[in-house]
């Protein structure tokens, strides 16, 4: 098959990495794969993952059209960050295809799209799916406030997911919303992941531990990473405070950095904020870490690349028992309940600091689980199978999608009046 994938291609994109792994499997299975970069701004060559030679930028409209005319299968890698997924928003409604949904919540994507001169279309999309009473753009100042105000009731994913012929998600979280928004097949698959694990990796900038154990949180440091919860948990017990250092690795906004720094200072917690790093530095940080704190509150992603990475590195990993993390085996990670996050994290960190946390076997189990589950081979197979299943219903899909669009424009949320007639039409295609 000729396969066309719409995806980020940058070195710093975890999704690009997933794409790469799956493409390798697809090619090994005999398919031809072409790539369209969906990043809002075309990345400079040095910022592109080296394996993506010869990709087409999403803004090269004639080239993309040519590729899609020849494609047997179109695959969209969709996430919540508009900077990385502008191209998906532009093309998915036209190309359709199989969507891998990396984040259940796409409010950020919608927001970014609106801000990029598409305010009217964004408002239309919101109106069609959520009814005329929600004019969120008027009320919202910042994307994360939108998220706080509306998740999990509104995932804001329907407007895009409805264009998919089939959807792959990476955990059960908010699955019902996806099922409600798409007529095509939906499948839960483990996210393919691989990481070069080099326990001997070092970096001179990582200072001496001076006997402290290192707790690491890595990835984009935003509010839902609950870094403040960790800081307070470390601070609660003086012994723990002295025994641990907390390192934050990954991009971080200035105000977040200063807030957390102040908090750690006041609380007497040893905190190092490293900021954005290269892959090599991240490896060194992981090698250096003794425990990884991978809290996501609320949990928005379909699957957590950082949790998987932590498991592959056989690090003791603390997660909140929600979403994707709930699907991890109870004996492979340390789960804290959403109702008592602070208390339970504190208990774990105290034990960890005191050296009484039994984690060796658990971490080993985590590694084995991650290595056997988050693989690209079956993902690639299932991707193709899902596409083929969806093709059986292309005609129905074309019609339902078109009618839904018009009904939406006319404010008809309940299509039961045209139900019988639609059934009669669709029956012709079976």
């Amino acid at each position: 098959m000729k396969i066309l994938v719409f995806t980020p291609v940058g070195k710093q994109s975890a999704i690009a990495k997933v794409t790469r792994m799956v493409i390798d499997e697809l090619v090994a299975a005999g398919h031809e794969v072409d790539v369209v970069s969906t990043q809002k701004t075309r990345p400079a060559d040095r910022d592109v993952r080296p394996e993506f030679t010869g990709f087409v930028d999403w803004q090269e409209i004639p080239e993309v059209n040519m590729l899609r005319a020849h494609a047997d299968l179109i695959w969209h890698q969709v996430g919540n960050n508009y900077d990385f997924h502008a191209g998906n928003v532009r093309w998915l409604p036209e190309t359709r295809g199989v969507v891998s949904l990396h984040d259940y919540y796409l409010g950020g994507l919608l927001w970014g799209w609106a801000a990029d001169n598409h305010r009217d279309q964004a408002v239309d999309a919101v109106n069609v799916w959520y009814g005329r009473s929600i004019d969120w753009l008027r009320d919202i100042g910042l994307p994360h406030k939108l998220q706080a105000a509306t998740w999990p009731k509104y995932t804001y994913s329907e407007w895009l997911v409805s264009a998919a012929d089939a959807v792959i998600v990476h955990s059960d979280l908010a699955l019902s919303k996806v099922l409600a928004a798409t007529g095509g097949p939906v499948e839960v698959l483990p996210l393919p992941y691989e990481a070069p694990v080099d326990h001997s990796a070092t970096d001179p900038d990582i200072g001496e531990k001076y006997g402290r154990k290192t707790v690491l949180t890595f990835g984009g440091i935003n509010e839902n990473k609950a870094a403040d919860v960790v800081i307070r948990a470390i601070a609660a017990n003086p012994a723990t405070r002295d025994a641990l250092e907390y390192r934050l690795v990954g991009s971080i906004a200035e105000d977040m950095r200063s807030n957390l720094t102040s908090l750690a200072d006041i609380m007497g917690v040893r905190l190092t904020i490293v900021g954005q790093v290269t892959d090599e530095r991240l490896s060194a940080e992981l090698a250096n870490a003794d425990l990884v704190c991978c809290l996501r509150i609320p949990s928005l992603e379909s699957a957590s690349a950082t949790a998987i990475e932590s498991m592959l590195w056989s690090k003791p990993t603390i997660v909140a028992n929600t979403g994707f993390y709930s699907s991890l085996p109870d004996d492979a990670v340390f789960k804290v309940s959403l109702d008592h996050v602070a208390d339970e994290v504190e208990v774990l960190l105290d034990a960890f600091a005191a050296g009484t946390l039994e984690s060796a076997e658990r971490s080993e189990r985590a590694r084995r689980y991650a290595e056997s589950t988050f693989v690209a081979g079956s993902y690639a197979q299932r991707l193709v199978a899902l596409a083929e299943t969806s093709y059986l219903h292309l005609a129905e899909s074309d019609i339902v999608r078109r009618y839904t669009e018009y009904l939406g424009e006319w404010g008809v949320s309940d299509s039961t009046t045209v139900g019988p007639e639609l059934d009669d039409i669709l029956a012709l295609f079976r």
Partner: protein, 337 residues
Amino acid sequence: MIPFVGGGARNIVDWLADELVARGHEVEKVMLPFSDEPNDLFPQLAAFRSIDLTDAVDLAICIRPPAYFVKHPRKVVWFIHHLRTYYDLWESEFRLMQDTAIARSRRDALRRADTAALGEASRIFVNSQVVGDRLARFNGIESTVLYPPLPADYAASSKPAGDSITYVSRLDLTKRQHLLVEALALTTTEVRLVLAGKAAGGGYGVYLKEHAANLGVSERVTVDDRWVSDEEKSDLIAGSLAVAYLPVDEDSYGYPSLEAARAQRPVLTTTDSGGVLELVRDGVNGRVVEPTAEALAAAMDELFTNREQTALMGRALADSTVELGISWDTVIEGLLS
């Protein structure tokens, strides 16, 4: 129908309507716009499907695709062609899209839907055996042939036979007027060639004239690159020796064949012309030869030399149209049966 595109496919609807009215029926013509853009295919089919004529009319006669998607308990289809790009032209350069898994899936869905919609009809007729075979092959549907006649007001002229082989039809590569020019250059008699009709794309008419000049037969070839009125057509055919009609693999025998029969002139055609072979038989009511300049030349000379035989074949062609039931009476009896 495509708005503002007239011609053969619309004529049949108008003529049929006139004939029905003449026989005392009340007729409404429902002409629905249709675009061949693949992405719009299924929503348009859904739109056609929403048309329910139950209780509004006693009988619905559906002609071109996707007209037969409309709903009526007594739906009769006079099937004259598929949406061919999804059928027999799939494996040709006329396919409108790339042959991808997605496109094939659309194609298959259309075929299923066509089969289902046609399956609802109480009677299915086709305009030729060629089309009937295709319908059976792709949709598994049996049909009866109802040949489309000329309109009632077609007036055949009457004149003594002349010296030319006349081809009155659009000037087009697929109609192969150039082959006749080449054939003419190989003839040994004084037989002449008249090619009349509008060239669809600018260049072909000019090419024919140049071709004739290069082959040294300009004096014996008339190329009339313009739209020809019915009267002129009738006149040209009446004054001809024989009518040529040799398109590449056309579904139906074509109105020129009927016009020839009306004027009692035999038809010269080729073995690969398609539907015309359901009407014309070599040596009986016309000539059917290999599609080569040599074979055509030989046939043209014979038509010129054996005048009596030529005239006989012309009369036989007229008889053939009667034998095949090419009349509005037959058509209407069939459609209303």
